[in-house]
Symmetry: C2
Subunit: 295 residues, 2 copies
């Protein structure tokens, strides 16, 4: 625990670290199927908040894992996240042209290659996880696969598709987002904590409660930023929820209540960490970062 | 070993068995995100030769594994295969409307849901593998993930995209197909044989040689069937290679040489099995089935 290091330094160190892990895990630019390798690298490297890796590193501090052990899990979660962005941006989904300040994958590489890049990024996530010699690797694969699948992220995307233009209440919107973004955020935290000694039951439930609140806070803030931000500040297209008549926390509750909700969820996330003491400092700081971010 | 059971009975028993395993592994029709669950079930159940599961079951006979142990691996490989068909059929890829005698997934469920169904099927493959308590589950995940990714199936698809309308020689075509279909066929065989006692080196290399020859034979026969078959006989659109000016073993070598090549590869596959004795009977029969099939 080096809690004397400022959060900005701690997070920057780990963002740089995960960038290296991801670059090494991705197929090299000259691989067979070089165009596909290039599309995968385009989709993953050089930008991104790396929130999910940071959550994995932060969670791994609870039970004293060495950061090196967390690298493959943090990278795997980020690869799943990156694949989901590539597929979300495709013309048949959100049809978006800007992502992380760059042209989206299908704009840069064509639709078919972007489809394959997303597919291959998902495969790579499991290859990276499974190649780790830790005895919990299979368990890590199971957790990540379930978070990514029909009962998690992909299922949430489906509900999101069905929600566009439909009347939705706040409870349905929350379920949608708990699946679409919450499941992968929770998986990042669980995979990080799977690297150290087994968690006590109270620790595990504290982490689960944190993950639920922080995951939902992330999405509420996303909705606020989409309503308030600009393309340039976000690095992606702003205002698209309203343009698509999409139910969000902002459209359902209003801007000010959505902001209050985000702060309340931040407090809930921080309060959940009480049983974990000082080892959870980074997680607490990440809860702040999630609601105070501007992109 | 029950080699006295005719191949037709052996294979039918296992096709029925894997159907049950797949049906149980897929999200139930009433799952959250029910439309996505329905699209996944549409894409997987009720048809399909189940060649890859049969190869896994046959390979598992080499080193005396119980078929029950092979179920999750056979199912996982088939789920990856099914996801790849859903994505291949999308408008931005082959834009196909007929698969396994039914409307393709995007025709039945829309493009966005089909995209998500393929994604969720890939996740499910790893969830199924990783949930198996066998000590080799992480290794199985690694083998399958590498076979599916940029250096395997997805990379082969990318080469296939680039080959349409391009001048291709037979060696490049073979590399393409070793990645696009061969890698997953080889993975099916390796995953099946990973269920029993560790293989001797000679056994492992015999299986690898078999996988290479049988995988390529499968693709040559696919090209022959596309050139000679009808929609009704194939359960998918026939004649599409020629329509797309796509390099195939038939267009590069001619129909009769392609057929001779398929038979030679069948012989090569069978000859590879010599060190394995009677335990490889089902693999030998599958090599016959691959080249003699009519769809």
């Amino acid at each position: 625990m080096r809690n004397d290091v400022p959060f900005a330094v701690w997070s920057r160190e780990r963002q740089q670290r995960i960038e290296g892990v991801l670059a090494a895990a991705l197929p090299p630019p000259g691989a067979p199927a070089a165009t596909l390798a290039g599309a995968m690298r385009h989709a993953v490297l050089g930008a991104g908040k790396r929130l999910r890796p940071l959550l994995a590193y932060a969670a791994s501090e609870i039970n004293g894992a060495d950061p090196a052990c967390v690298d493959s899990r943090a990278a795997a979660v980020e690869l799943i996240h990156a694949y989901s962005l590539v597929h979300d941006d495709l013309p048949c989904m959100d049809d978006d042209t800007l992502r992380r300040g760059k042209p989206t994958c299908h704009v840069a590489f064509g639709e078919a290659t972007a489809l394959l890049a997303g597919d291959a990024l998902q495969s790579l996530a499991f290859a990276v996880l499974a190649a780790d010699p830790a005895p919990t690797s299979a368990e890590a694969c199971r957790i990540l696969a379930e978070a990514a699948g029909c009962a998690g992220m992909a299922g949430g995307q489906q509900l999101d598709l069905e929600a566009t233009g439909a009347a939705l209440d706040l409870a349905s919107l929350e379920l949608l987002h708990r699946m679409k973004t919450g499941a992968l955020i929770a998986a990042a935290i669980r995979l990080g904590s799977l690297c150290g000694r087994p968690l006590e039951a109270a620790e595990a439930s504290a982490l689960d409660a944190y993950a639920r609140a922080a995951g939902l806070a992330f999405q509420v803030v996303d909705d606020v930023l989409d309503a308030e931000g600009s393309d340039a500040s976000l690095g992606k297209t702003a205002g698209k929820d309203a343009a698509r008549n999409k139910a969000t926390f902002v459209t359902l509750a209003g801007l000010a209540p959505a902001k209050r909700r985000a702060m309340a969820l931040r407090d809930e996330a921080r309060d959940s960490l009480a049983p974990l003491g000082g080892a959870a400092t980074r997680l607490a700081e990440l809860a702040d970062w999630i609601v105070l971010r501007t992109k």
